[in-house]
């Protein structure tokens, strides 16, 4: 699913609405220090101070509703600091407790009992109870049209709150990854909250003391149950333009800039002592081929198209080298990714031979759709079209308006440029790879794949489950409709004195409650 981790300029904001929580479950991300000042993990944290964080956000989609589309990173960061969630991503890809202290499934993995901590309290003084959790989750499920059915696999009508600190969540099918599906997005608000046109009380590490057109000001929530945060105050500033965000840090007007462009990183690198935080595998622009339409109904054509891709050239041009090549599977960062897969490389001769065998000896003419929603999507398509020309394919690149791309082109045309922002493999399968998935963009329908996935979701043991998921990914690698040529890094800039920024996967970077600032 698409995520908001990339920049967007004013006119591109239609896409804000796309950002999905699932997308925020980015796995396999790391943080490495840039050439500037490394984050000294051994340094002693300093208490106090204000952190100024500039983060992507558009005025039109700014929202106080933590259960909606989560289109603005600036909103998500505020929610992450002011509301508690049941679970957060752990360092090994497995969920870690937050508001939930423990969880246990039944034998069939379709009833999950979560124990809640007993000392959590909303900022208005009311305790956080199981019914608040159930109310919040039900609200997220009801807002399916806004959040792409984020909790569609949970049956909340059959879920219960047997006591104040226990919820029993029902799932529609066995769901081994239920605690993972609740990671980071299960923001808990008081039962019965209905007016979300202004912030409702939360129980997180910070509380909102002021909001304006651009900035939300948060101060430490003294009543929070967790480890006391170091920073007194956090100012979250929504700035739509990635270059403006980068400039804010390089010019000293902000301490951290989230999601800046590779070009901005290149110039910041040479000019100042700012630190570059790299999050791997955040962005990808795969090319989507529909298996139920000609010429892509022929597996030889699909293979030829994959062999035509010069992956390194694409990564170097589109992401300016801030990324790595990929192997036609959309979630290389997922713990279930098959490690023993051969890397597909460019092979023009073989691709030509395959096209000939498929009856296209005299070449092929088609249209490759793309857009400008995310920086480099158009470049990717243009360069790939040039590479396709080498195997005798005449692909005309059509740059579509960003406003309507995701409603008119996405999942509708037979050959186009897609976008994924760190979705987990299981989520990807649910939304787009099962025979009955709502948006099966590649028209991938395989009984062995479907049953393999169902079986994996009924397997509690993570290792056995990941092995089963790896098996079905191999089928997708051989036969699917994706050309995944590379993944781009998420890039943040931080001022030298800022430490303790989360380096965990994906959405984890929004939970900045352990950050501190050297005096």
């Amino acid at each position: 699913m698409r995520n908001s981790s990339l920049s967007r300029r004013g006119p591109r904001t239609a896409f804000l609405a796309f950002a999905s929580a699932a997308s925020l479950l980015l796995a396999g991300c790391g943080s490495d220090a840039g050439p500037g000042t490394p984050d000294d993990a051994s340094a002693r944290p300093v208490d106090g101070g204000t952190l100024r964080y500039v983060v992507a956000g558009s005025p039109a989609t700014a929202s106080d509703d933590p259960h909606g589309g989560l289109g603005n990173e600036s909103d998500v960061m505020r929610f992450a600091l002011t509301y508690d969630v049941l679970t957060v991503p752990g360092p090994n890809g497995e969920p870690r407790p937050r508001l939930a202290v423990s969880w246990k499934p039944n034998k069939t993995l379709d009833r999950w009992t979560f124990r809640l901590r007993e000392n959590a309290e909303f900022t208005d003084g009311r305790p956080v109870r199981a019914k608040d959790v159930l109310y919040s989750l039900t609200r997220i499920a009801k807002k399916a049209a806004e959040n792409y059915g984020r909790l569609a696999d949970f049956d909340l009508e059959s879920s219960t709150a047997p006591d104040d600190h226990t919820v029993v969540l029902a799932t529609r099918a066995p769901m081994a990854e239920a605690p993972k599906a609740l990671e980071s997005i299960s923001f808990v608000v008081p039962d019965g909250s209905t007016d979300f046109s202004r912030p409702v009380p939360g129980s997180g590490p910070y509380r909102v003391v002021g909001t304006g057109a651009q900035t939300a000001v948060l101060t430490r929530n003294k009543g929070w149950w967790g480890t006391r945060p170091h920073l007194d105050r956090i100012e979250i500033r929504a700035v739509a333009d990635p270059q403006a965000r980068a400039s804010a840090v390089t010019s000293g007007q902000a301490d951290v800039a989230g999601s800046v462009s590779p070009a901005a990183v290149k110039s910041a690198k040479s000019s100042s002592s700012v630190r570059i935080v790299t999050r791997q595998g955040v962005t990808e622009y795969p090319f989507i081929m529909r298996l139920d339409t000609k010429p892509f109904d022929n597996p030889k054509v699909r293979e030829a198209f994959r062999l035509a891709a010069d992956r390194k050239a694409l990564v170097d041009t589109v992401f300016l080298g801030y990324g790595r090549i990929a192997n036609d599977l959309p979630t290389p960062y997922d713990p279930s990714y098959p490690k023993d897969l051969k890397q597909r490389t460019r092979d023009v001769a073989r691709a030509k031979r395959l096209l000939k065998e498929a009856g296209h000896a005299h070449g092929l003419k088609l249209t490759l759709h793309t857009t400008t929603s995310y920086p480099g999507m158009d470049t990717a398509a243009t360069l790939y079209a040039e590479q396709l020309a080498d195997i005798g394919v005449d692909a005309e690149v059509k740059v579509e308006p960003a406003d309507t791309y995701w409603t008119r082109i996405y999942a509708k045309k037979d050959f186009y440029t897609g976008y994924y922002g760190g979705i987990s493999f299981a989520d990807l399968v649910r939304v787009g790879l099962l025979s009955d998935s709502p948006t099966n963009e590649t028209a991938w329908r395989s009984r062995t794949f479907d049953t393999g996935f169902t079986r994996a979701m009924g397997t509690l043991d993570a290792r056995a489950r990941n092995a089963a998921l790896a098996r079905i990914q191999k089928e997708l690698w051989r036969n699917g409709g994706y050309v995944v040529w590379g993944t781009g890094d998420g890039l943040d800039l931080a001022a030298p004195g800022v430490h303790g920024l989360p380096d965990g996967p994906g959405f984890q970077r929004m939970f900045i409650d352990r950050a501190w600032k050297a005096k």
Binding site: A145, R245, A248, S251, Q253
Partner: protein, 319 residues
């Protein structure tokens, strides 16, 4: 005369809102589509559309909106559910500061350009159209690179400190205001130059020249008064245009005004916000034009001046 002009202004304002509404209707897709983003089921999107009131026919929606407007209600944003009035109130002070700053520079530069034009007897003047033709983004890039990057005089971005008034950070206003003012001044000069040339051709100006009056006196007494009405018209146009046209500058400098809100609301088809944000510049232009008309009329009806005002009013009208 005045009530009729006022009525015309109100009708034009309503017409402007109808045009904006029709334009947002013509754009493909609505908030329901935007929310679903191709991922939600058709039923979910339909339900969402119903919840947002988008299942009602467009003319009915427009009339309802107009009915609310008459009662002073701007409605709520489809995207966030927040009152549109609040969204605008948060950003209008920043826009007002930017527009006032820009206009101050624009007026000064335009006056200077016209004074030079006057001294040169109305000849020359290829510079202004050239400068007006340069895209805003180029001004932003060059000014930012020089004044902030090379010289380091000004902040690279114009973030406003939380809770503080935009007037409290004048340095933050300089780059955005200059970026807007340079092309605006060039544009205003182009528009007013024609009026100036017309005035210089008037018999009484030539007469004053032959009498050997000092240039400064001719400018003040015999030329400037004739430029008042066209200047007010151009000022109205500029103010309206600036109020609506700050989006690029806001994006480049990270400045939180209404322009970014307008453009991003168009992108997500948040019709109530678009309507209200577009109404403000429309009203500014129309009220400004009304004032110019009233000044014009007052001038014509003042004894002994009617003959002299006539050609200038025509020149200004073309602007």
């Amino acid at each position: 005369m005045i009530p009729r002009a006022l009525l015309r202004t109100v009708l034009l304002a309503v017409a402007a809102t109808a045009v904006v509404f029709a334009a947002t209707e013509i754009l493909p897709g609505d908030m329901g589509d935007v929310r679903g983003a191709g991922r939600a089921s058709a039923e979910d999107v339909a339900r969402e559309r119903e919840r947002l009131g988008l299942d009602v026919p467009a003319p009915v929606r427009y009339l309802r909106w107009l009915g609310h407007l008459v009662r002073g209600e701007l409605g709520r944003s489809l995207a966030s559910g927040r009152p549109v009035a609040d969204l605008l109130a948060e950003r209008l002070p920043a826009t007002a500061a930017l527009v006032v700053g820009t206009l101050t520079v624009t007026v000064a530069l335009t006056a200077l350009a016209l004074a030079v034009g006057f001294l040169r007897g109305g000849r020359g003047g290829a510079l202004a159209p050239g400068l007006a033709a340069v895209p805003q983004a180029v001004y932003a890039a060059v000014l930012g690179a020089v004044l902030s990057g090379v010289l380091g005089w000004l902040p690279a971005v114009s973030l406003l400190a939380p809770g503080s008034s935009p007037w409290a950070q004048p340095r933050a206003l300089v780059l955005p205001a200059l970026t807007l003012a340079l092309p605006s001044a060039a544009f205003a000069t182009v528009l007013l130059r024609g009026a100036l040339t017309d005035v210089l051709r008037l018999p009484h100006v030539a007469d004053a020249r032959t009498r050997g009056l000092p240039a400064r006196l001719i400018l003040r007494r015999h030329v400037a008064p004739f430029l008042l009405v066209p200047s007010v018209r151009v000022l109205a146009l500029m103010t309206g245009w600036l109020t609506a046209g700050t989006a690029l500058v806001e994006t480049v400098y990270g400045y939180p005004g209404t322009g970014g809100l307008l453009v991003s609301s168009v992108a997500v088809r948040d019709v109530p916000v678009v309507q209200a944000a577009a109404l403000i510049p429309a009203v500014i232009v129309l009220v400004g034009m009304l004032v110019a008309d009233l000044l014009d009329t007052a001038g014509r009806h003042r004894p002994g001046r009617s003959r002299r005002m006539a050609p200038v009013a025509t020149a200004g009208g073309a602007a």
